[in-house]
Amino acid sequence: MKALAYSKDRAIPWLIRFGAWVLSMVFLFAFRVPVEAAVTVSVLLLLGAVGAEVWIYFRNKRFYNGLLANLEGLDQKYLLPEMLEEPDFTEGRIVYEVLRETDKSMCERIAEYRRENADFREYIELWVHEIKLPVASLQLMCHNDGQAKYAEQLRRVDDCVENVLYYARSGSAEKDYLIKPVSLSRAFADIAIRSRAELQQRGMTLRTENLGVSVLTDGKWLAFILGQLMGNSMKYGAKEIAVTAEDFPDRTVLRFRDDGIGISESDLPYIFEKSFTGENGHASGRATGMGLYLVKKLCGKLGHSVTANSEKGKYTEIVLTFGKNEMYKMP
């Protein structure tokens, strides 16, 4: 609270006081009160008024500066009312009440949205479980009746369903993953088998190196992430996918590299952004701009870092880095 700005706010009361003093003086002279008495009364009144003003100034200053300092120090500004002590003067109490009421109403509103969001997510999970039943039945029917060509389309349906599921999971505020040691080779083999028909149809080869390590992650989420990367490689003309892991004392680095059409330098910084399709997306028309966005978001939630290197026409490499944490290690 600046003293000068505050004084300006107080100009009107002082003008009123000044007016009252001038009138008092007129009366005093009219009643022929001695000048000395009038001066003494004036000085006393002035001292009293200044004293009161200073007191009010410091009380307000303490309250408002406290308010501002709290606001400054808070990461989540809406928590401000929680940090305040109830002031002992009316003006302060009004501000305090207003803040608390606004905050309460906002918290209720947020809780309502959060609940709606959680409900929606819960419904998506339920819906996904439901739709997986007919998909599973159809998949078995294809196999039992020897109708391989339907199986491929079913796999695409399942992919779309998984996308919805993980989109819902990625946006949820709850922690619904489970970190434990997951074998990289197991996770990769699972998604390779899933895409085997398409990989072989495209004459693609897979090369893995040093995948015999385990990383701390959620197995299901990792499978989804690898599935997205595999899908991209197939979509963008790769003939070979090379997956290599490198183990360091504090982290494990997984490189997912393909020899597809690559990403232009101008597009590279944006590939993890939502709905970004870039040159390749426009050319192929199959891009949704969701795949890598989801990868980045899920990695973020799991605490992994993800980066990309590429050279147009040569290669694309997605690098996942998994941290190691002593806390997770079982004795």
């Binding site: 039992n144 434990k180 072989q200 995948l211």
Partner: protein, 220 residues
């Protein structure tokens, strides 16, 4: 032939699952009455149980927990729940494997035989027409002659041996190889099969692996 108890409440899925198992040479028994499932599990005298988690009346997890108090029969959980937590909980309650729907049918069959094998504690050395087959060493010994098989050849031979006399499709062989991190191509599979044939022939096991046009291979 193994007796497999199928506990799945979705009728279409249950029927197809039974067909799949029958085609693979197993004897499926389906649960259709949802009262007293636990007793049915105990009395079925099954070699293996396929158990869904979401069941009417009772949860698969509770069933498994109660079942494990009295029986050792291997149980594979089949579920459309796709959270890691479900898997960890199921395994801690005594499941032998956990497979999410929709499943690759070939993978499901491979997992079933893997679990059956583990539960039987199959001897490290199997025999085939007078030859000793050691999967661990990757070798076949017959009349004092030894042939060392590569990892791929062993996977192929093992699958053929487990299903001796029945047709094993190329798709199944391929899936088994990929499941073991050997991402071979179609032509590489053919090469591996002919190398396996040559090695078996050296041991005097000529024509052991027969090709069935457009179907697969049979180990005689």
């Amino acid at each position: 032939m193994k007796r497999i108890l199928v506990i799945e409440d979705e009728p279409a899925l249950r029927d197809e699952l039974c067909t799949l198992l029958r085609h693979a040479g197993h004897e499926p028994v389906a649960v259709t009455e949802w009262n007293g499932v636990l007793d049915q599990m105990i009395n079925a005298a099954a070699d293996l149980i396929l158990l869904d988690i979401n069941l009417p009346e009772v949860s698969g997890e509770t069933l498994l927990e109660q079942f494990r108090k009295s029986a050792e029969t291997p149980v594979i959980i089949l579920t459309s729940r796709t959270a890691e937590l479900d898997e960890v909980l199921s395994m801690s309650r005594g499941a032998d494997d956990f497979i999410t729907k929709p499943y690759n049918p070939t993978i499901l069959l491979l997992r079933i035989s893997a679990v059956l094998k583990r539960s039987k504690k199959t001897a490290a050395v199997q025999t085939y027409r007078g030859a000793e087959v050691s999967a661990v060493k990757g070798s076949i010994i017959r009349d004092g002659m030894e042939q060392i098989l590569t990892k791929n050849e062993m996977i192929i031979f093992q699958l053929l041996l487990d299903r001796q006399g029945a047709i094993v499709t190329r798709d199944e062989l391929m899936t088994a190889l990929w499941d073991n991190d050997e991402f071979v191509s179609d032509s590489a599979l053919s090469v591996n099969v002919s190398r396996l044939r040559a090695k078996l022939a050296e041991l005097g096991l000529d024509d052991a692996v027969e090709t069935r046009k457009k179907q697969g291979y049979v180990l005689k």
